[in-house]
Symmetry: C2
Subunit: 170 residues, 2 copies
């Protein structure tokens, strides 16, 4: 099964992490491959690292939109390394669930090709579950996915000038 969490609203990553928790609770083995998340920036990372059955990998910790001094070439290389790691993890089929965090962003921003991501997903065994998150999921990915949810912003405090808060947004 291929699951996609996309859209402009909050909840794409947190829903994937809640899903990971649920699956671990069933004794599944889970691998999370994160892009653009930093290695210690998100609150959940410290807890996830301690959970049994979970492997957490992080690539391209900085996105050029947030850090202007990061050369795009470096980001592209790291995204490619992450995709190649994803391929290897999915191909070896040692995990029941693989989460590809923010891979949609990497495709949307031209660091990865949509068709290369699809090739990696094509290597998955029928029983395995892959979750791809990030806004701007490609049409090709939505076409191939089994379950697609759009997290749609109805109301957001950013609109009222309230900034991201530790514990909530990261």
């Amino acid at each position: 099964m291929i699951i996609v969490n996309t859209g402009d609203g909050k909840g794409k990553t947190t829903a994937a992490m809640g899903q990971v928790l649920r699956s671990l609770g069933r004794g599944w083995k889970v691998c999370i491959i994160q892009l653009f998340k930093g290695r210690e920036f998100y609150g959940e990372q410290t807890i996830l690292k301690k959970l049994k059955g979970l492997k957490l990998l992080s690539f391209a910790p900085k996105h050029p939109a947030c850090f202007r001094n990061i050369p795009e070439k470096k980001v592209r290389n790291e995204c490619r390394k992450a995709l190649s790691e994803a391929w290897s993890v999915i191909k070896r089929n040692k995990f029941d669930m693989v989460v590809l965090e923010e891979f949609n962003i990497a495709v949307r921003d031209g660091f990865l090709k949509a068709e290369d991501l699809l090739k990696v997903l094509g290597a998955k065994s029928p029983a395995a579950v892959v979750i791809v998150t990030g806004r701007g999921a490609s049409k090709q990915l939505i076409g191939k996915a089994d379950l697609v949810t759009e997290m749609k912003e109805i109301k957001h405090p950013y609109r009222r000038g309230i900034t991201a808060r530790k514990g909530i947004e990261f």
Copy 2:
């Protein structure tokens, strides 16, 4: 801050649980009050119970739509008990975050009144965060909330006749 996860798509509960994980990772104290979830039905429950800083309470484990032999009066009483517990938890202000799982459903199905839920939310201290989940959030709640996300179903395998799978849906 009041956060609402609603809509017909997947991800309302899992996003709340991912949010809990993030907040616990920041050392927050979190209380989850669940309706209609059973006590051991969901995969995440076994892991949540073990996490430090988290209190998990469960009421009205069976919804009449799923279990036809459950008298509505019993469900209404349990929902009221849950709301009264929520009030007490929020009022005492010992938790940084309180999650009211599926309380929207209880309001939608007439087991709780929208205005009674709003009264409970009104008892919260300014710094505390309350998350309310469930499809069919009331207009009053959306009006009062700071952050509202609609989880919108774009594609779902149920439509192709595939049934809920352990580890994914529960």
